[in-house]
Each structure stands twice: as C-alpha cells, then as structure tokens.
Symmetry: none
Subunit: 212 residues, 4 copies
Amino acid sequence: MARRAWGEAVQNREEQFELKRQAVLRTAAVMIRKRGFERLSLGDIADELQVSKPTVYYYFRNKEEILREILQLAVDQFLDATDHPEDFPDLPQLSGAARLERFLRRCVRILGEEIGSCLLSTPREVLDEDTRRQFEEKGHPIDELVEGIIRDGARDGSLKPCDVPATYLMIVGSLRFIPTLHFDQQYSTALLADSLVNLLMIGLRTPTGNKS
Amino acid sequence: MARRAWGEAVQNREEQFELKRQAVLRTAAVMIRKRGFERLSLGDIADELQVSKPTVYYYFRNKEEILREILQLAVDQFLDATDHPEDFPDLPQLSGAARLERFLRRCVRILGEEIGSCLLSTPREVLDEDTRRQFEEKGHPIDELVEGIIRDGARDGSLKPCDVPATYLMIVGSLRFIPTLHFDQQYSTALLADSLVNLLMIGLRTPTGNKS
Amino acid sequence: MARRAWGEAVQNREEQFELKRQAVLRTAAVMIRKRGFERLSLGDIADELQVSKPTVYYYFRNKEEILREILQLAVDQFLDATDHPEDFPDLPQLSGAARLERFLRRCVRILGEEIGSCLLSTPREVLDEDTRRQFEEKGHPIDELVEGIIRDGARDGSLKPCDVPATYLMIVGSLRFIPTLHFDQQYSTALLADSLVNLLMIGLRTPTGNKS
Amino acid sequence: MARRAWGEAVQNREEQFELKRQAVLRTAAVMIRKRGFERLSLGDIADELQVSKPTVYYYFRNKEEILREILQLAVDQFLDATDHPEDFPDLPQLSGAARLERFLRRCVRILGEEIGSCLLSTPREVLDEDTRRQFEEKGHPIDELVEGIIRDGARDGSLKPCDVPATYLMIVGSLRFIPTLHFDQQYSTALLADSLVNLLMIGLRTPTGNKS
DNA sequence: AATGAATGAGCATTCATTCAT
DNA sequence: AATGAATGAATGCTCATTCAT
C-alpha cells in the first residue's frame, strides 16, 4: 500500500468518487423502495442529492446502469459468503431444509437494508434487453441456488417434493412485501424472518385444520 | 325480450360497443401483465388494437378509467359469490383453513385469466387520489376478507396463530408470479393451485427435515 | 305562393331546416358571448342542443361557417333599414352628429340581443384567411359607414374634426363590454345607450374640470 | 459591486438567462397581440425563437406562468410610480379629471409597448383558478384605481356624474384597439393619447352639433 | 335527418440524455 | 468535477372533421 499524505484523515479522489457513486445508488434504492422502479426519475435523485442532473451522469452512464448496479450490489451481497455467514445458504454440508431456512432469513435481512431492499423487487421487465440478458444468461445465480436447494432438499428427505420452478417463484413472491413491512410498518427483521420461515416451512394449517 | 332480425347471429351496436370496450380492457390487462402498470401507454393499446388513439378515448374517458375498470372487474369477479361458487371463500360456515384454501384457489384461478391477472399486481400508487380513496375506503375488500379469514382460522383452531398483517402480505406476495407461471410458462391453474395450497397450508419441511 | 297542406299550422321541411340552423347559430352566439370565441367548441354546441356533433355538420359546413353566419346575421341586421328605423344611421339628410348618435344607440340595442351580441366582439384574427378577406374586401360595411359619418360630421360642423380611423376604432372599442354589462350585470340597453352617448358625444370633463 | 472580466461588454449567465426569459415573454406578448390569447401555443413560441419546446420549459414552469408574468409585468409597470411619473395617475392632490387624463395617457403609452400591449386585452377566463383569484382578490388594482378616480372626479366637480361601473368598462373598451393602431397602423402613441383624451374627456359633438 | 364510430393534427408537458463550459 | 442549457422522443388528451349507416 502506498502511504498517503494526511494518512487516512482525508479521502482521496478515488474514494470520494466511489462514495459519491454509492450515495447515488443509495438514494436511488430508497426511492425505488418508496415509489417503485418506473417512478424513479433521475431528476428526483439529483434533487434529493442536491446536485444537478448531469452530475449524476458523471458517475453513471445512464439510468439503466444505476439500476443494474443496485441489483448487482444486492446480489453480490447475497452471494458473499463472508457477509453474515450465519445465514449464508450455499453450504453443501447442510440439509436442503436448513439451507432453505438460511436463504429465507438472509433474504429478509438483506431486504431490510437500503440497497438490499431492491434485491428481489425488480420486475425484470424494467431492464432493457441487454441488461436482462446479462442477468438471465447467468441464469440469475439466486434462481439457480434456490432451485438447487429445493432439489437437494427433496433428495435428502428434508423437504417435501414439489414442482421446483413454481415453488421457487412462490417463495420469491412471498418476500415481496418484506421491505414494506420493515420500513413502512416497522416490523423487525427478526420477527419477519420467523414468520416467513413458519409460513413456508411449516405451513399454516393445524393438524386439526386438516379435517375441515 | 324483443326479437331481433338475424337472431343472435349479428351483433347490434350496443353489443359491439361493449365488445370493443372489453377488447380495450383485455389488451390493457395483457400489456400490464407483460410490461407492468407504468409502462402501459394508451398509444400502445391503440397500436395493438390497430385503431387510433382518439378511438380509445371514445370508449374510455381517460387512462385512469381503464385502470380502474380493470381493477374493478377483477375485484368484482373475486367477490361475486355466484362465480365459481366452489372456491368462493366468504362463507362463515366453513373453517378458516377451508376458507383460506378457497381464497388461494380462487386467486390462482382468477390470476390465470386475462383481466383477472391484474387482481393483485396493482401498485396502489398508480391510481390517482380519488380512485385510490374509492378503493381504500372500502378498505380493499379483499384485504379485510383475508385478514378476517386468518383471524377466524386462529380462533376456530384450524390455522396456526400468526401475525396477521405480515402473514397476509406474505400470502399475497406468494401469488405474484402466478400470472407469469400460467401465461408464460404454461402451468395449469390446477397444478399451481395445488402447489400453492401445499406450500402455504402444509409447508415445505418434512417431519425429518425438522431435525437438521 | 303555393298553398300548403295543413296551412301554416305545420312547418314544412325547409322551415324546420331553417329553424334548426338558427337554433345552432343562437346557441353558438350565446356561448361566444359567455366564453369567448376561441373557447367555442362544436361539441359543446351539440351538447347544449342535445344533438350529436355530426348533426351540427348537417346544417353547417364547418365551424368557420357558423362564425361567419353569426357575424353576417348581425351585420345584416345592423344594415337593414327597416329594422328599428328610429336608430338607423345611414340617412344622408341627418347631420353627422345625429347619425353617430343613432349608430351608437343601434349598436347598444343590437349588442343586447342574442345573435347581435357578437356584432363587434369578434377578433378578426379568429376568422381564417378567406373569411377575413371576404369581410375586409368589402371593407366591412360598418367600418365604412361610420368612418363616413365621422367625416360628414366634421364637414357639416356637427362633429369636431378628428383622426377618423383612430377615433372610429376607439368608438368601436368602447362598445366592447356592452354585452357583459347588459347580460351579466343587468344594465338596461336604454341606460347603456344614454351613458355611451354622453361619454362619447359630450365627454366626461366638466367646464370646471378644464382648468386642472 | 464586483468588477467583472470584460467589464459590461459580455453578458454573464444570469444576464443571459434573464434576457432569454424576457425574450420568451416578449415573443409571447407579440403573438398574443397578433393572434389572441387562446391561439398562443408554446410550440409556436419555440419555433419563433428557434429553440425546442422543452427549452421554453427550462425558463418557465408552464404556459400559465408565461401568461401570468406578462400580465404581472404590465400591471406592475402601470402601478410603478417611478416609471414615467408624468402620467402616473394615483396622486390624490390632482383633480379627478387630471388623474383620468393621466390614466388614459399612461395606458396608451404602455399599450404601445411589447409586453404592455397585453395590459388590458386579457380575457380573465384564460387564467386558471388560482391565478385568476390572485388577480381578483387584489380586485384588479387598476379597476379600483379608475373607479376611484371617476368617483373622485364627480365629487370634486371636475368630471360629470355618471354610472361608474358602466363608464369604466366603456373607457377600458375604448383602449382595445390601441395596440393595433400603434403596431399595425403605425400611429404614434402621442397622437393616440391626444385623440383618446379628446374623445373621452371632451366628446365629439360640437356646440352646434347639439341642435341637430 | 341524424348519429355512432373513427381519425389526423395539434397541444401541454415530462424525461432521459447530451454538450459546451 | 460539476453544471447550465438544450433537445428528441414520448405521453395523455382534445377537437374539428369525416364516413358509413
């Protein structure tokens, strides 16, 4: 590492650049959560940050790039095994059920953060052709991860057999309102995670409820 | 009923008017499903129907009216006890579990129809003040219905106790991709309904899976 | 004259046609007075008459024709020597002053009638090229009449000498709000005519007022 | 004052901004004079200025704002006692007659300027609710000023008694074609002012003319 | 004689984006 | 590094007008 004048006290250009970039992403993420993807306008981001519109363009090529990077950040965080390893799901030694529960808890946690709140909420129709393909060619790593988990769970007997793609999308859907519940209705992520795990892993019906 | 020349073979003006109106609604609903609410443009609807933009305005006062009618149609269909009574959920004599299952099956069925596919996908921010209030003053009848069902189920012992608002939103979320699964991935509504009921009522974990 | 079945009791086709035409013109004139020329919409006329828009087109080629005819009717009435001869101004045997007074009283009277209220209120910019030229080639008969009157008055010593075109337009301008005063503020045409004649013929200043 | 590079020779940004804003207002005012208020289209303004439509929106929030500012500028100029004090009418020490004459001369002068030509020509229906109320709550200061003048003149004996509201509207009307006379027919404002004062203060009829 | 249906042209407005500075 | 200025493209909507019936 090169020594720096003033040590760590003063940010250098690259650091400032990166911080400003992140400020844009954070602001955009908050507005997406609050008003939805299509309602996001570059002008509003600029206003919120108190800079001009072209300034945003200094840091990002276009609106798409902002969206893409937010998604990428969220996905990267999800896939980063060193981030909150206690709910990192991609561990072969765990049963499918255990991994699925980790997936759910990890999602709830990340969806309760600013950038992360966009993790799953993005309608893919929003992205333009190229971006979408980029995400889908890789098969959206999370898709494959979870579908693998469900399959493994069926194989190892910890999960019931089910139609994998359909079940996967139902699970993803059930996460839709987590950001709303957390940010707008003040639910703690802990409570939300427990509720969700109960709902999806154990179901709602009581043994008695079976008969009716 | 007055007899008509040509019997039923030829549509009269009112019928044609109504059919064209419905064609607009259907086209709009399909575009909403495919591209999202905000991406819906009157020009695109007109193009798709191969008419001019003002023609659409001949049948609807404005864009809002189209959205409102689609939503109203979907909600009305849902609430119409005579439509597919076998999955109508608002029957007090049934247990909460049975009613919840009916709710799920009914939603899946309706979300698999053209207009109905918009039943739950509408971000309420899309509607203007008046329309939104109109929907929310009634408390969005479906919200109240389902929250009531969950509460009743807990009371009658057929459903596990749970946080009602959070669970409700998770259930609604889980329906999010039903239209996609049905229309784009060709799932039958029967299969989807079964999968969903299994997932939400019985859960995914096997008894064995518990231990891990 | 051909004898008619049913005598005069029943209107024949031509009479009905003409009556309906006049109803359109009257309705249009009222709306022009109330909302101004440019705000006049064929749809509103049709609504007011409780007929459809194309029906209006059955009686008039286009919007221009309606405007043109209203103006023509008003001008014709003004120029018709048999209509209220007591204020008909185009009588060579009268002094210029007398004729000018008649002009003012006649204008006030006509501007207090439904069709006539449009006599002078029409901004000529409203008419399209052709119509305007048609009106202006003839030099707008009223223009010429009044300018002649003012000139004659100067010659015969009954009116002060003045710049004729400018004075003419100031006089015409002073009539601008007569319809408003009559219809909206309930002034009688008699009072308005007296006020106007006093103002324009005698002026506002008192002999005393001269000194200040 | 800070000194500027290049002195006064080169406009800085704020000056250019303000000049462009005024160019829009001036262009709009000219088009209003020539074609009337309702015919004013933002596209035409843009074309005339050889810029694009959104550019106009860079300088004004919307069409209303343009209209409002034109009116406000004209009214403000009229009410500014330091602007051409020789015809400023609101001076209590003057007789009503003197003040009325000043009012007329001031109007003629202002109506002969580009922006000022809209001073009295505005149909108030053009403005939206808020703007209109803003203008009318203050009672349209000019209305009140002139009505007060006429009343004062009657009281101090310099003006003949008359119906104030009617006379006021006739006076305002008589100003209607001043812009036309000045801009299209090349009348000097001096001549127009004299003609108008003669007409309204002294009247047209000669003493001789009385008898006829 | 009258109308339902349809449309071309136009308008106010917004937004992502670019360019010169 | 940042911004003022500018714009192309699109959007919702209105209106005069036409055509087939």
